[in-house]
Symmetry: C2
Subunit: 204 residues, 2 copies
């Protein structure tokens, strides 16, 4: 269900996954029309799927269920549940037979991407996927500039290790520009990250 | 949390995913010590993961969240939510760089496996994964015999098509024996399906 405010702006509910209010973004460009990164990626994945280019899905949010009611003649209702920390990344699937795995995050920070957006479980998962020959990366959006980058997990792990050994707790935008790939944005698909994978595939 | 009845039997809650009570299984053999197929597969996947043999996870159950409370100074509580139909299969991951995708089901029926255990969304997903070069299959347990089979998606789709064109609504055990592979069961891992994948891998 979706409704609009009287001024025509879309009503956005509390983002239940992030447990924090979501800002309503300004309509500030071609590739970003008030959509969250998750919505843009879901649209892109649906584009790839419907054109038989790739099969990539977002995983459901992990929930710890405590109490369920089973009313007669109607659907089971979950009455008490809690959000769990994910043990993997959010997106995975298959492209040309290869295993694809990534996490997507956006930041309002114009100069750097804070590493507190990730937790150790996800970093460990990325390392495991790399060791198993999967193609693993993060998709990072700098929402101020509407720039979206693909950064391979091997770089991500390097920056994580730097933090763990006492270094800076973020990746600078320059480091991401230098080590990552700027993803072409558009109308359909909105975030065309497969274009980048085509260049990376021969290296895996 | 887990408790036992006074007779030492494990208390098993209603299975929230299937929305139906789960039978407490008898302790009737080496490979099946009262565990559900899901528990056995989770243990096997954890075995593979910890030994760096493969990275395969069960996806969280998809939930439609309707109402969340945000109490001060404590975790967000989901107060109303519903089970959604999965749009993919339950398990996926990576083995030697290849994309692995499967669904797992068990039946008490001694002679055949009822196809009503699957829904069209999952069949479509299997077809998409196959077309993208992923390794896709179903794991089927006949709990009466404690036999677990791996049946490749291409066979599964054949039996599904037979049903859709008016044929039988199940796969006979003989058909599964003939077209599938009996998976070795053990203590650790309990369901060693990677042994079967090793034979299949050169064909993909």
């Amino acid at each position: 269900m979706s409704f609009n405010y009287p001024n025509g702006k879309k009503y956005v509910r509390l983002d239940q996954e992030k447990k924090a209010p979501v800002k309503i973004k300004k309509n500030d460009g071609y590739g970003n029309r008030g959509m969250t990164l998750e919505e843009d990626l879901n649209e892109s994945n649906e584009y790839y799927r419907s054109r038989k280019m790739a099969v990539i899905h977002k995983k459901p949010t992990p929930i710890q269920i405590v109490q369920v009611d089973y009313p007669k003649r109607s659907a089971a209702v979950i009455k008490e549940a809690y959000f769990k920390l994910a043990s993997t990344t959010d997106y995975n699937g298959v492209y040309k037979g290869k295993y694809i795995d990534f996490e997507a995050k956006e930041t309002e920070n114009p100069t750097s991407f804070p590493l507190k957006n990730f937790h150790q479980h996800q970093i460990t998962h990325m390392e495991e996927v790399m060791n198993q020959g999967g193609i693993c990366f993060v998709i990072i959006r700098f929402s101020r500039f509407d720039e979206v980058y693909l950064l391979e997990a091997r770089h991500m792990l390097g920056f994580w290790d730097r933090m763990m050994s006492g270094g800076r707790k973020s990746i600078t935008r320059e480091e991401i520009i230098h080590n990552g790939y700027l993803i072409p944005l558009g109308f359909h698909p909105r975030i065309d990250y497969i274009k980048i994978l085509d260049n990376l595939l021969p290296l895996y």
